[in-house]
């Protein structure tokens, strides 16, 4: 039971990050390697703002946490848009490999800047941890895990509704289907791409909030979850939103289950990536990828 909840919560985090990858891939047809580092920046902003507001004092902790989360979200969203405008927009129409290399450059840049500002040492902060644990029968479960699962599910439902129901969401679908045709139908492609990056980065902030109870904050925080979420997006079929969710949850559950079995615990990473390769071999377009797949 505890394993299941923890797996689902880790899976929700991976799914949130994977959504950022898959949406950007659907719209801009590029692998945004800098996505993991946006999570890292979000975590640092939350950390800094929490430290700042706690020092002021006389503010309830939930309020200061909320303020820092909102600030982090605003910063990350702006960061996502700025990265897109400065680094990726000039390369639209060039080879995808060029955009991939710039994304790697942006990733290094963000890591370097974070290390310059906050230093290389690891810091820990407890926000969601403070909620403690809950006893369900004989199982002890962290509140943070439950919140992650619930909030993650709500966000994903909201995202699907947003894409299906709103004009902007449908415009995103249109752009991912055919950029040229969407433009001719009066869709502002530049604005849509920016919005996609903004949403992806916003989701990344949620991921960094939920990731904080699991890990400590360091400049390379985003690297491993970033790459695993990327794997999750590919497992689910890159470009497909339900696929990213499925892939994320699958990978999260596999990771937690493997970690709980002591015989294979140290091979967890290998097992996860082997799963990726096997799924790609059996179904080269991912689990939910289709020939004419719905992608954003």
């Amino acid at each position: 039971m505890a394993v299941a909840i923890n797996g689902l919560s880790l899976g929700a985090i991976y799914a949130l990050i994977a959504l950022g990858y898959t949406m950007v891939y659907g719209i801009a047809k590029m692998l945004n390697f800098a996505h993991g580092d946006v999570i890292m920046v979000g975590a640092y902003i939350i950390y800094t703002m929490c430290m700042f507001t706690w020092n002021i004092g006389s503010m309830p902790i939930w309020l200061s946490s909320l303020i820092s989360f909102v600030v982090a979200m605003a910063v990350c969203t702006c960061l996502g848009i700025v990265i897109e405008k400065v680094a990726y927009k000039p390369l639209r129409g060039a080879s995808p490999l060029a955009a991939l290399i710039t994304a790697i450059g942006v990733s290094y840049l963000l890591q370097g800047i974070a290390q310059l500002i906050w230093g290389a040492d690891q810091r820990t902060i407890s926000i969601l941890d403070r909620l403690g644990t809950v006893n369900l029968g004989s199982y002890v479960i962290k509140w943070s895990a439950i919140i992650t699962v619930v909030v993650g599910a709500i966000i994903m439902v909201c995202l699907v509704m947003f894409i299906k129901k709103t004009r902007t969401g449908r415009a995103m679908l249109a752009v991912s289907e055919d950029k040229g045709a969407a433009q001719m139908m009066g869709v502002n492609v530049n604005a849509i791409v920016s919005i996609t990056f903004a949403i992806g980065s916003g989701l990344a902030t949620f991921a960094s909030m939920f990731y904080l109870p699991i890990t400590s904050v360091s400049p390379t925080l985003g690297a491993m979850p970033g790459i695993k979420a990327f794997a999750a997006a590919v497992i689910g079929g890159i470009g497909s939103i339900p696929g990213a969710m499925l892939g994320g949850v699958l990978l999260g559950v596999v990771e937690v289950v493997c970690n709980s079995i002591s015989a294979v615990a140290s091979y967890t990473t290998a097992i996860e990536f082997a799963l990726l390769i096997i799924i790609l071999l059996v179904r080269p377009i991912g689990l939910l990828g289709k020939k004419r797949r719905i992608k954003v």
Binding site: G105, L109, I113, L116, V234, L280, P284
Partner: protein, 402 residues
Amino acid sequence: MAETMTKKSRFQNGKWKNYISYAVILAFLIILIVINLTKGLGFSDKSTLPRIAFSCMLAVSLNLVVGFLGELSLGHAGFMCVGAYLGCYTANVLRGAGGMPELLVIVISMLVAGIVAAIFGFIIGLPALRLKGDYLAIATLAFGEIVRCIFKNLPFFGGAMGMSTKLYDGNTLFIIAFVTLLFVVFCCQNLINSKHGRAVVAIRDNEIAAKAMGINVTYYKLLIFMVAAFFAGMAGVLYGATIGTIRQETFSYNYSIEILVMVVLGGMGSINGSLIAAAVITWLNITLQSQLSGALAPVKSIVYALILIVIVIFSNAPAMKGFRESINPRNWKRKGPDDAGKIKNDAAQWDRIPTKIHMDDPLSVDTRTTYADSPVPPDVVVKNRDEFYVKPEKPADGKEEK
């Protein structure tokens, strides 16, 4: 036309480019040996030089996959990891047996490492036959991480602490490294210029067309993956001999990406470009690392990242195309005669451009009789076209370019 082609020497065919890399590497090596014998290279130079050499090897071998085969691979460090662990393990075993000269030990361990890495290349090459583009990239990346994770947990390879091997003598290691590099460049260039290489390039350009022409796509993809892995494995042994302790953290996907960056910045499908880019980037990395220490250490990655972003945007952005062409030396040279082929915007010159259709004649046909009174006889048009063009002035600076 065919006659002139056969008469051309290798230099006129552009094959001189192949020899330039050999000549430069050899000259570089000889200069270094002379410096080392007379003044003695510094300790840091002795570890920098082999690093440059194995970076070049990695870049050239990855270029085979990315530039010539056209498949994106993000797992090159994984092959290097396999080579480093297996090769240095072999070297340790051979040294333990004793009685073997060091040179022989390193050659044998490089061969073993290369062969084992090539087997892994075969294994990862198999999925490569089913996957395309980004999917293959993530599969190779996953392979690299799997290899790392496995080596981290195998006890006889030192586990998480890393495996230690004997540091090779600094005075001769760089010579071995550069000779190996020469061997790698020689193999790659001959492979690419052979029948096999042309088949590989054909697969890159159009796989279906290549298949239709009877090229065995499976065979060539596996071949290139295995050759690239073989050289990466050899580079791994040189890495072990330079650094002394092999840690699996080194071979993370960041390292694969760094090699990919060398290939892309040097120019995909250009071996000389890979050599230059690998040497410059490695040197830059090491220099920045040693110059910037303590709190300024992250400046290295910032500088590195900025250079990367600026170069890629400059050389790839569609908006910069005009600017790129205006500063490209090849275009200065070409401006003269080539411009004659273009239709002038200048209306005053239009009547001087010979056309076979004469708009004034109601039923003009391309025959001598029809053109009897035309200002430009058709025969002359074909034979001496250039006479009828206004040749533009050649730019002064373009003439100086070779």
